[in-house]
Symmetry: C2
Subunit: 344 residues, 2 copies
């Protein structure tokens, strides 16, 4: 971080907005009016608009002790774009609101926005609006992402069919193990501030937590392969929690196979250091932002073209319930162990 | 407020969302997918999409000591719809995110949403998404409003022309004086908790603060009268601050006449009780959510049809600066005294 410190009060709210938005370049032809008016205007040229919003709060969703502000800005955008891709749509614009206490300088906010703009650049979306306000305490982020989809090509959660294959992109559980490492190092640091954090060899799992990516590539692959998922959602709360949503909303059951759940070697090794089961991390750990989707069995061959997609099970009649077959040959009922911010 | 108290942790995040959204009825044909998926889907049928977002924080934007939760829910929606109307567009959908500490029960959140739904009903907009999360402390609200406008019929801030008439809807300064009353009664209550608040006769100004309305009627009138404003914005920070934005963005100057600024009799009397100048309240008080717009002089006759519209001045060459002519015959430079959350 830069060593200079400019108080936000020195430049005021409008000065801050001007400072943060002056270099915006509009990339999307659909962005007609951007930052600087009461509202933004978008022309979707006959496409349908897809929209999603997330509220991220310091101390609940992120810890600034181990989250660099630039990464936080990047991630805040990415997690919202992930929701747009999960509808089989293409994100085009975002609105970004921040609440900031006087603990944050103009330099700190600038760093956060560097991450925001890096994500906008990478995913080709325009920042077209938002709100900036003081907060009494802490950092609050609200992101709204807008996307577009050809009429009726969006994919919902409640349209899976019996017999459909259950697919997962990438690998799961990494972000959760990354969080365990960072929490451990934070605890050590708080007890002995002189000790340098030891994250050697854990860059994969730490990166999964601090700098996730949205699966734009998977949506593009599905389109190129003319493979239309029958249902889809992103995995923000862990595979068990999400597959249960999908089953409930589609009024179906499912069977998952533990051995088919994609787990990265780096994650497996990291989980063993904490003496926890990698499969449990994949099922219950959150924040992987991979895609969970179902496809017709007739599309199985097409899936083989992409090694980033794993078939982990299939949808069943609702009467058959929701089960996972373990490597050891046992059968367990799937329970939601996803994150619940309100749990005590 | 109901006397029952159900902890949010008893029903969980998904239980809370289900409880708050189960009675939603979709009114807009354009709302294709609403609450319950990764994102909502909107079809604007060839119209342009207008979008705006606001972040409202307890202790900064509202004080729950004197703000009933139902009013807060109503106002949170209305202030955002006001931004959509200020683009000459019609709001169609909202997304509502809330961050809640464990101080808030399910009953309290339900009350807040009663206000949200009342505003949706009144303005004919659909609640189609949002986010619900725990907060460490306080109540946070993020609202995103979406609207539609016929192609290129939106009205920006930077398009006023020299000689245009400056118009204001309704009357100004009421919300600020209402705030002064509520802050006074709060202070008295904190010093002597037994004393009942004395707001007798102040229902007009208190109502202006706690239950503002967006000027849907003015937008409809302008459309019916075929009167296309040359520029427009809503008045959330006080007339001086807003007219300076409009002048700066349109690269023009202006002349305002104090005697033309619309002030309600009830506001004038209330201001005198605090020994403050009603004109100062109208110029610098925030949260009136009236519309400020400019029209061509050729449209003057049409304005006379609506007594809710006051002509308060005209736009000039930028070299002439930004001035107000007082009732006493003096001429002052207009200075922005609007609310700045970061000011110390």
């Amino acid at each position: 971080m830069s060593q200079e410190r400019t108080e936000i009060s020195q430049i005021g709210e409008f000065g801050l907005i001007e400072h943060l938005t002056k270099n915006i370049e509009i990339k999307q032809a659909s962005s007609i009016v951007g930052v600087g008016d009461d509202a933004a205007v978008i022309d979707h040229f006959g496409k349908q608009t897809v929209i999603s919003t997330d509220l991220l709060l310091e101390g609940v969703h992120f810890d600034l002790m181990y989250t660099p502000l630039k990464h936080l800005g990047y991630k805040s955008v990415v997690v919202n774009l992930s929701d747009i891709y999960a509808m089989n749509a293409t994100p085009t614009q975002i609105l970004m609101s921040v609440g900031l206490s006087n603990r944050f300088s103009v330099e700190a906010v600038t760093e956060f926005y560097e991450g925001v703009y890096a994500a906008c650049e990478k995913y080709g979306v325009d920042l077209i609006g938002g709100d900036t306000t003081a907060s009494q305490k802490g950092f609050m982020i609200s992101v709204t992402a807008i996307g577009e989809v050809a009429p009726d090509k969006y994919v919902k959660r409640n349209t899976a069919q019996k017999g459909d294959l259950i697919c997962v992109s990438g690998d799961l559980g990494g972000a959760y193990v990354g969080l365990l490492f960072l929490e451990r190092e934070k605890k050590i640091y708080l007890e002995s501030p002189g000790v340098q954090p030891d994250l050697e060899g854990e860059s994969y799992v730490v990166g999964r937590l601090l700098k996730p990516e949205a699966r734009k590539d998977i949506i593009e692959f599905l389109d190129d392969a003319e493979l239309h998922p029958t249902s889809m959602m992103d995995i923000s709360d862990g595979l068990s929690s999400e597959i249960l949503h999908l089953c409930r909303q589609s009024q179906l059951g499912c069977v998952l196979y533990e051995e088919k759940i994609p787990i990265a070697e780096a994650m497996r090794n990291a989980a063993f250091k904490f003496e926890i089961d990698p499969t449990a991390c994949a099922l219950s750990g959150g924040e992987d932002y991979e895609l969970l989707f179902t496809v017709s069995q007739a599309d199985y061959e097409k899936l083989l073209l992409n090694e980033q997609i794993s078939v982990v099970g299939y949808m069943t009649e609702p009467e058959q319930g929701t089960h996972i077959h373990t490597k050891g040959g046992n059968k367990h009922v799937i329970t939601a162990q996803g994150w619940n911010h309100y749990k005590k």
